[in-house]
């Protein structure tokens, strides 16, 4: 296009073309944005993901429950003494994803393990109280998690994720 510019004002024509092209590009980008953004979670979905409260009183020692938060299963396990000890005594150096048990539970509430029950391999749901480590066993491709939800064996690369939560009282937690 530059070669076609007339001799007397060589730049005015180019400027016009560039300005028009730039405006078109800006317009196109601004138009694309809503078309992309609409696929993000809508306002109702986000609102439905608000924190939930869970009462711990019905869960006896050695038992666990599954609750749903933001469409994800959350395991809440009431660990036995043995499970707690195992989780605390394992040498960190032997873990694929080293993390002390204390970093995975709330201080003073050692008996409660709260983890998102989604295998960090490819998203299947591990089964509680199975496997060789007194924790979880994922049937999909054989990942094994211990009583702190840490990966011990199998293809999963990381420990089960601990969701954001806090103790509202000794017997009640708020997830989210």
């Amino acid at each position: 296009m530059t070669t076609a510019s007339s001799a007397d004002h060589p730049t005015r024509r180019d400027f016009l073309y560039v300005a028009t092209g730039a405006a078109a590009a800006v317009g196109a980008a601004a138009t694309v944005w809503p078309l992309v953004a609409q696929m993000n979670p809508d306002a109702a979905t986000i609102a439905a993901g608000a924190p939930i409260e869970v009462d711990l009183t019905p869960i006896g020692e050695g038992q666990d429950i599954k609750v749903f938060w933001r469409g994800k299963p959350i395991y809440i396990s009431h660990r036995t003494k043995k499970q707690i000890e195992e989780a605390q005594n394992v040498p960190l150096s032997s873990l694929p994803d080293p993390q002390p048990d204390s970093a995975r539970v709330k201080p003073g509430h050692d008996q409660w393990l709260v983890v998102i029950g989604i295998c960090t391999h490819l998203g299947c749901i591990p089964i509680a109280h199975e496997g060789n480590y007194d924790g979880f066993f994922c049937p999909c491709h054989g990942s094994q998690y211990d009583s702190s939800g840490r990966i011990r064996q199998g293809p999963a690369p990381a420990n089960l994720v601990v969701p954001p939560y806090q103790f509202v009282s000794d017997t009640k937690i708020q997830i989210g």
């Binding site: 073309y17 028009t20 405006a23 317009g27 809503p34 078309l35 609409q38 809508d42 306002a43 608000a50």
Partner: protein, 690 residues
């Protein structure tokens, strides 16, 4: 004309592809080197505008389908939730709904252009017939799309239009039942319409490819109606036609945006904001404006079968146009009589459209019959006759000659085009408005609303007071089921903080469950909960309220309207007046009179209201002075209550209105600047062609 191209890409990778699939050559010969007549006017840009509209409709439609639920119980709500919850959902829905109207608007101009310039004549007969097929497919698609929101007009439109097929002798009932997939319009009907509504646009796109192919074989017609003879007659498609088309498209986008951002409901029908109710037919069943001329023809014929045949005949006859008009001269520019009859025909079509929106009674029926005769006479008598008796003026020798002779008078053409645009747009668009009558009541006085006009915003104080009035008075009988407590903290709303909204929510008891014991229970409301409705179901509401179920108020200000009348509705288009709903709602609240005026009898259990259609309303006077206390010192009068609660309900009906107007302003500023840039770019590109 677009013979094999000698175009060769230089890039080796492209060369490799081109040897195996000559796609770049195809694109080059069809859209770059393709010779375009130099004398095309802006009426020819409507081809590009239509392509853009098809793309817009498919794109926004595919997106809306991601969020829409095609189920009779959920469809209405899902459309509202798209508008309220999905990111930019309101924008996408407005684009799609107004887009249908724009698509038809453009196709009518495109068709009239073809009619005027004889674009259907030899060798373009197949091109024209393909166009008629596209138009028929568009009508089917538009109709089924209108059914999907599952409002009252959707439902009853579907019922009336599918019942057209019951006119078929012997097989009618069977066909209609087959179309419905049931004994009446219902969920199976909605499901199949959704499926077909998704399918047909792609069929249209396929026929459009054939249409463009046929166009490129026969070559474009032009205002002079003479063929391209020498190089001087044509310019290459790119950049000349491309840039001109893009300028046309930009101008059209400005027109389109006016609807999207400022008048999204202008072309719609208030009744379609009432969920489908198989037990009640709206007072006036009116199709979308683009079907109105054919609807008028249907109603003009007093025999069912004949009416249906005439209605379809009015469209099918277009396909025979190339043989009905066999005058040798293409362009009406050189046919003095044909030109006059053409404009008469345009007026006939517009008047038929107007009649289609009026109730079928009295003078309208007679006028409808006369115009129906005129419509068919144009094709069956006028055009064949003119071909024999008319002496056309001499056509120019070549396109180049035509360009030279008309380089003057261009501004006048442009101005007349713009004027025609505006008038036709206002008229056609507005013709449906008259049909939204709420008859038998007085017209509500127009009020001043903070949210009217292009910069209108909700008055926060009024919204908060209105919420109080709703909570303390209206909510005893009326639900507000589309509003969640969290919405009270949304931008553009009553302006509460999330904490205030949560506190407000916790005052409500919400039914939840089942719990682990399998029982339902009540818990305090959360921000994500929706306002609970006062009655568990419609029957309960009906019984508790003397036989009339109090309507849900979420959409009431959009679902109510009143007759504006001609020419008021045309002015409304330019002044952006769209507060019929709020005017009506607030008038009802203020319209109760102690004494029934003489001459009007109000049945037992009803009350006199000045503005209610028929005056007998089942709702007792809901508001009286001093009933609700205001902490901000606003007057505690019925007028103030009515104003506040109506403002609140307008927000409930359209929570994203402020965003719509704000973004609309940005879009307008951008489009106008862009149109100016495009205009000068186009002038530069065409500088050497003129």
């Amino acid at each position: 004309m677009s013979g094999p191209s000698d175009f060769q890409p230089t890039n080796p990778a492209l060369k490799w592809i081109e040897r195996r699939l000559p796609i770049f050559g195809l694109v080059h010969s069809s859209f770059v080197a393709y010779p375009t007549p130099r004398n095309l006017n802006y009426w020819w840009t409507f081809g590009a505008i239509l392509s853009m509209m098809l793309a817009v409709q498919i794109l926004t439609g595919v997106i809306l389908a991601m969020h829409y639920t095609p189920h009779a119980d959920l469809a209405f709500q899902s459309v509202e939730l798209i508008v309220r919850n999905v990111n930019y959902g309101w924008l996408l829905r407005n684009m799609h709904a107004c887009g249908a109207s724009m698509f038809f608007f453009a196709v009518y101009i495109h068709m009239f252009r073809g009619l005027y310039y004889g674009s259907y004549k030899e060798p373009r007969e197949v091109l024209w017939i393909l166009g008629v097929i596209i138009y028929l497919l568009m009508m089917a698609t538009g109709f089924m799309g209108y059914v999907l929101p599952w409002g009252q007009m959707s439902f009853w439109g579907a019922t009336v239009i599918t019942n057209l097929f019951s006119a078929v002798p012997y097989l009618g009932e069977t066909i209609v039942t087959w179309l419905w997939g049931g004994f009446a319009v219902g969920n199976p009907t909605l499901n199949r319409f959704f499926s077909l509504h998704y399918l047909l646009p792609f069929v249209i796109a396929g026929v459009v490819v054939l249409h463009v192919w046929a166009l490129h074989v026969a070559g474009q017609n032009n205002p002079a109606g003479v063929d391209i003879k020498t190089e001087k007659d044509s310019v290459p498609f790119t950049p000349h036609a491309t840039i001109k088309d893009m300028f046309g498209v930009t101008c059209f986008l400005i027109f389109y945006s006016w609807f999207i951002f400022y008048m999204p409901n202008y072309l719609g029908d208030a009744d379609n904001y009432i969920p489908a109710n198989p037990g009640v037919t709206p007072a006036h069943i009116v199709p979308e404006w683009y079907y109105l001329p054919f609807y008028a023809i249907l109603r003009s014929i007093p025999n069912k079968l004949a009416g249906v045949v005439c209605m379809f005949g009015a469209i099918i006859i277009l396909a025979f146009l190339p043989w009905l008009d066999n005058a040798k001269t293409r362009s009406s520019k050189y046919r003095p009589l044909a030109k006059q009859f053409f404009w008469i025909f345009v007026v006939v079509c517009i008047l038929l459209g107007y009649l289609g929106s009026q109730p079928p009674e009295g003078v309208y029926v007679i006028a409808g019959r006369i115009l129906t005769v005129c419509y068919f006479a144009y094709f069956l008598i006028v055009l064949p006759l003119l071909a024999r008796i008319e002496t056309p003026r001499p056509v120019p020798n070549s396109i180049a000659d035509d360009v030279l002779s008309r380089s003057r008078g261009k501004i006048a053409t442009a101005a007349s085009i713009a004027l025609a645009f505006v008038v036709a747009g206002g008229l056609f668009a507005g013709s449906t408005q008259t049909a939204r009558a709420e008859e038998g009541g007085n017209a509500p006085p127009a009020q001043k609303w903070s949210f009217s006009g292009p910069f209108g915003m909700y008055d926060r104080g009024s919204l908060q007071r209105g919420l109080k009035v709703y909570k303390e008075v209206c909510s005893a009988c009326h639900g507000l089921s589309l509003i969640a407590f969290r919405n009270l903290a949304d931008p553009g709303g009553p302006g509460y903080s999330p904490a205030q909204a949560a506190a407000f929510a916790s005052e409500y008891k919400i039914k939840d469950g089942p719990n682990d014991q399998g029982e339902m229970f009540e818990r305090p409301g959360r921000p994500a909960d929706y306002f609970p409705s006062p009655f568990p179901n419609e029957q309960a509401a009906r019984v508790a309220n003397g036989g009339a179920a109090p309507p849900d108020l979420s959409l009431i200000t959009k679902a109510r309207s009143y007759k504006r009348g001609f020419p008021q509705f045309v002015f409304d288009f330019f002044t952006q007046y769209q507060e019929q709903g709020p005017d009506y709602v607030s008038a009802i609240l203020r319209g109760f009179e102690e004494k029934t005026p003489a001459g009007i009898t109000i049945p037992e259990g009803s009350y006199y209201n000045t503005y209610f259609p028929g005056h007998a309303i089942k709702m007792p006077k809901p508001l009286s002075d001093g009933q609700v206390t205001y902490d901000d010192g606003s007057p505690t009068t019925v007028a103030q209550y009515a104003h506040d609660v109506t403002t609140f309900l307008m927000w409930a009906a359209e929570p994203h209105m402020e965003a719509r107007k704000r973004i609309g302003m940005q879009v307008f500023v951008f489009l106008i600047i862009f149109a100016i840039l495009m205009y000068f770019t186009k002038k530069k590109v065409w500088a050497d062609a003129h």
